[in-house]
Symmetry: C3
Subunit: 399 residues, 3 copies
């Protein structure tokens, strides 16, 4: 489903609909295969030193889809500016960095991030931005093809509505039992609040009070990103709505004021605005997780969410719990404040690895052998596709 939504969200460039959709499809298909290999190596084989086959189940496929989402987010920062070969190289390197980051976060720091505010959205956005910065050339921001069109905007909006409808399922799919119900309800409220705030702010920031399609296509989804970390936690609907509203606010403001200024001052060119949709809301979502952990005190309910808060092995508390509930696994006896600190550490680590990984990857992508597009061929399907209006016998669908 992720494929479907992103495929259409990325049709927005008026002469890049074929490529936006198809390269998205190609990258997604390679990413799920490489993700399964890379994750098997990083999670199952290298840490345990056991070389051999690793098991697969439906949740492996879901995790591979989430890995593909990370790559497709980064694609938004470089859309139209890279050749397919460059994109494949980016994908191959990015998923190594992303899975090392997730391994450190989940296995060593033992943090919670059920819907991936940090590991998917923030990582994907800042990795892509770092790559975009390394590849920056002045000509990238000046193309007359860097514009949208009416029909392409409708396709893109189809992608938005599609992602919006399925987001509660994304955030809930890896949660269990009650956590899944919370994930669906929290994401639903956050997304609903975010749409309202986005439309209101879009109208307020314009001098004629008119709406801007780009904001509606993107900032409305920030509400799904922002509850990625806290989705399965028993927060109240008002907190979910507050997070969604804040996400809509910073995302819209980001599109309106921050992106043009980043482009001018820092040469950070971000055609799909991934910093606004995934980056800042992802950081906000990660901070939300820090806050929720910080104010959480130990109870049986939180063990499902923060297993590291379970009492340590052989402790009196654990023995007491075991006399009533046999299933509880020993943890690290963290307090809420400690868990909050680890959540914050994971967020910082994510940003550092994303930016460093993106810079390294960007320099690799500049190798001439990867066939980077000429300046006048950017954002242009005609560089890679037989176009329907060309006079060519290949055009007939039957051939």
């Amino acid at each position: 489903m992720i494929f479907m939504g992103f495929a259409f969200l990325y049709t927005f460039l008026k002469r890049y609909g074929y490529s936006g959709t198809s390269f998205n499809f190609l990258l997604g298909a390679i990413a799920v295969q490489w993700a399964i290999l890379a994750r098997g190596l990083i999670f199952a084989i290298i840490p345990h030193g056991v070389f051999g086959p690793f098991p697969l189940d439906i949740s492996s496929l879901v995790v591979a889809d989430f890995n593909a989402a990370t790559v497709l987010i980064s694609f938004g920062a470089v859309i139209g500016k890279c050749s397919p070969l460059q994109l494949i190289v980016m994908l191959l390197l990015e998923l190594v960095f992303a899975n090392v980051n997730e391994y450190l976060g989940i296995e060593l720091l033992q943090v919670a991030d059920i819907g991936g505010s940090m590991f998917i959205h923030a990582f994907g956005a800042y990795f892509g931005m770092a790559v975009s910065r390394v590849l920056f050339r002045e000509s990238q921001t000046k193309s007359d093809k860097l514009a949208n069109s009416y029909t392409n905007d409708l396709f893109s909006l189809a992608g938005t509505v599609f992602l919006w409808c399925f987001w509660p399922s994304f955030n809930g799919v890896l949660a269990t039992d009650q956590g899944r119900m919370f994930a669906i309800i929290n994401t639903y409220f956050s997304l609903a609040a975010c749409v309202v705030v986005t439309v209101a702010i879009s109208s307020l920031v314009d001098k004629h009070g008119k709406l801007e399609m780009v904001y509606i296509q993107n900032a409305t989804l920030a509400g799904g990103v922002v509850v990625g970390t806290t989705a399965n936690m028993p927060i109240q609907p008002w907190l979910a709505m507050l997070l969604g509203s804040l996400a809509g606010l910073i995302s819209t403001i980001g599109y309106r004021y921050l992106s043009p200024s980043l482009e001018k001052k820092l040469k950070l060119h971000d055609p799909a605005g991934v910093n606004n949709l995934h980056g800042m809301p992802g950081i906000l979502g990660g901070l939300g997780g820090v806050l929720v952990a910080f104010i959480t005190s130990f109870s049986l309910v939180v063990l499902d969410i923060f297993p590291a808060m379970a009492p340590v092995d052989n402790s009196t508390l654990l023995q007491e719990i075991h006399s009533n509930f046999t299933g509880v696994v020993a943890g690290m006896g963290r307090t809420g404040a400690e868990q909050g600190g680890y959540q914050l550490a994971a967020l910082v680590l994510t940003l550092v690895l994303a930016i460093v990984g993106g810079i390294v990857t960007g320099f690799v992508m500049r190798l001439p052998v990867l066939d980077p597009p000429e300046p006048d061929m950017m954002y242009n399907d005609a560089d890679y596709w037989h176009m329907p209006d060309e006079e060519d016998e290949l055009i007939k669908p039957s051939v």
Copy 2:
């Protein structure tokens, strides 16, 4: 899913694709939030006099989605003729009327309407028509922008096929066990029969035998509306197909002959034809419920569908049943004919409340403070949106 389908069904106006889709999205997002509050007040708080928090679960979200559908149906009757502010006022008032109606129907009259032929479709359609009548101005019917285009029609047809595919799930989602299986099978057959009849009638009523896209986009869905009341009842496939065929027939005839005549004679202007798609098939569906109740005699099977037909408390019959099945709850001891009468009463009440509520709401919406659009700005995205062909720095997607 409702959002996705309606969003694209409402792209049909050639210069109103941005607004049709986006206002639909905005209204849906506000509606689900307001529906949860309004329903909490009307169902949980006011009748019991208990002020305080009310519980939420996944079925609350489903019901809120259904409430959003009611509003989006009414939107079809005023599409292109109202400002966003007017639409939001309509939404806020409509959901109060709709939930009072549903409370009276379900809690007091104890009627069955699992897929909402009455409470969603008929209510939404006649509420919207009443609003449209109050807002009527001659200029609304004369705009050259009140027309479709090839690409927009394809988007709209995507919405149709999407709604068609998911309709069996809509009608089944709130049913349980065997009722859900019936709902899926009955809706499937009704929809399939409806498509065939719609295409046949479309061709017959045209003087050249040509097909009309508007009928195919809309009347094909009437088969889902018409089994909304009876979906979970153990009716035979032939009855579902008969209902679907009748719905396709009256809906197509409605688009061809009735709508132009209502517009001329009664000043009822209905750009999306909600009377044909939701109104008349909704009434027919409600009458189908009356008929099925009328011919039903008491058995254990019907208790799931018409709980008011269960024997009254302390009756001999109930004690006899309890000796075998402990789970049966006491009811009101209604006969089938009595239940049919109550179903009819609920249908009439729905129509009265929809029309009265719509008229009241329409007068509120005429307040000048709500910024109604100028006649030449109707059905026109340019009144509310930055358009891609405008020369404006905001157009670039990165900004």
Copy 3:
């Protein structure tokens, strides 16, 4: 869901978007109704000589959807060249042939084909090709409307991505327990590998290294077709990926070289390329089933997949098994090699019945009473539809 995907896949012709989508919708709706009747007659009534009602459940609806898919595949071979009446006649005859074939394959030959590589894809493709051959006229290949356009290609690609996302569910829906998990994982890997190979081959076979949208829209799906027979079998991911890669290879090569040559030499005109997407990958999938059966030796695990390999009634082996597992049903005691032989026989029978059935049906469809389109009206919506640019009062959506 099948409807949604095919509806958009078949928008690719630039002047046939209305018809491609709507006739697809109409055929699908008739097909599910006729499939339920025809299957009831062929599977439940005629063999047992019992005339009377037959039971329906959700899996009947799924099977009817699969029957609709068979018809819609054949539609791809004659798209734009037949009147609606001709298409309906094709549908009615095709589903009789298809269900006789499936009855012989499943009930008599007792072969496995969970996702329909043989019974759906190969049958539908070669039936449609045979019809297309009988209806061949030189003018069909020369129309200037037999071409795609940018917007229609994007719609069509939406159909591709949609089908791609749902294919694992198609192949898994009729499998049970562990077989369903295998079906989802195998289909997922096959599809992912197929996309990569398709893009690579598309670029290699072009003299400028450019991509061709037609290949991406179609050949990427061959990976779903090719594992239709073996989906629920415990094959390793590498075999699924190998099958998917081979399917992508032959499908792309087919579009590039085989279709033009079939058209010139054998007058086999195939506008949607069903031979490449469904025909050859379907045969390959059937052969994959032969191979897997051939190398399978008896174990309890295979009984779910090849029930005919269970020991015969009253055999010592069966009694031994029954002492541990009571649920095992007696079979025909086939060896793996024998089962492989029967799988091959079913594949050959499918091809024979498809081609013979298609030829017979093609001759029936040539009857002038079925109103075949004039040569200059082929691939043209204007023959059947009121078009938005016509000056006609019917065009206004409210009428």
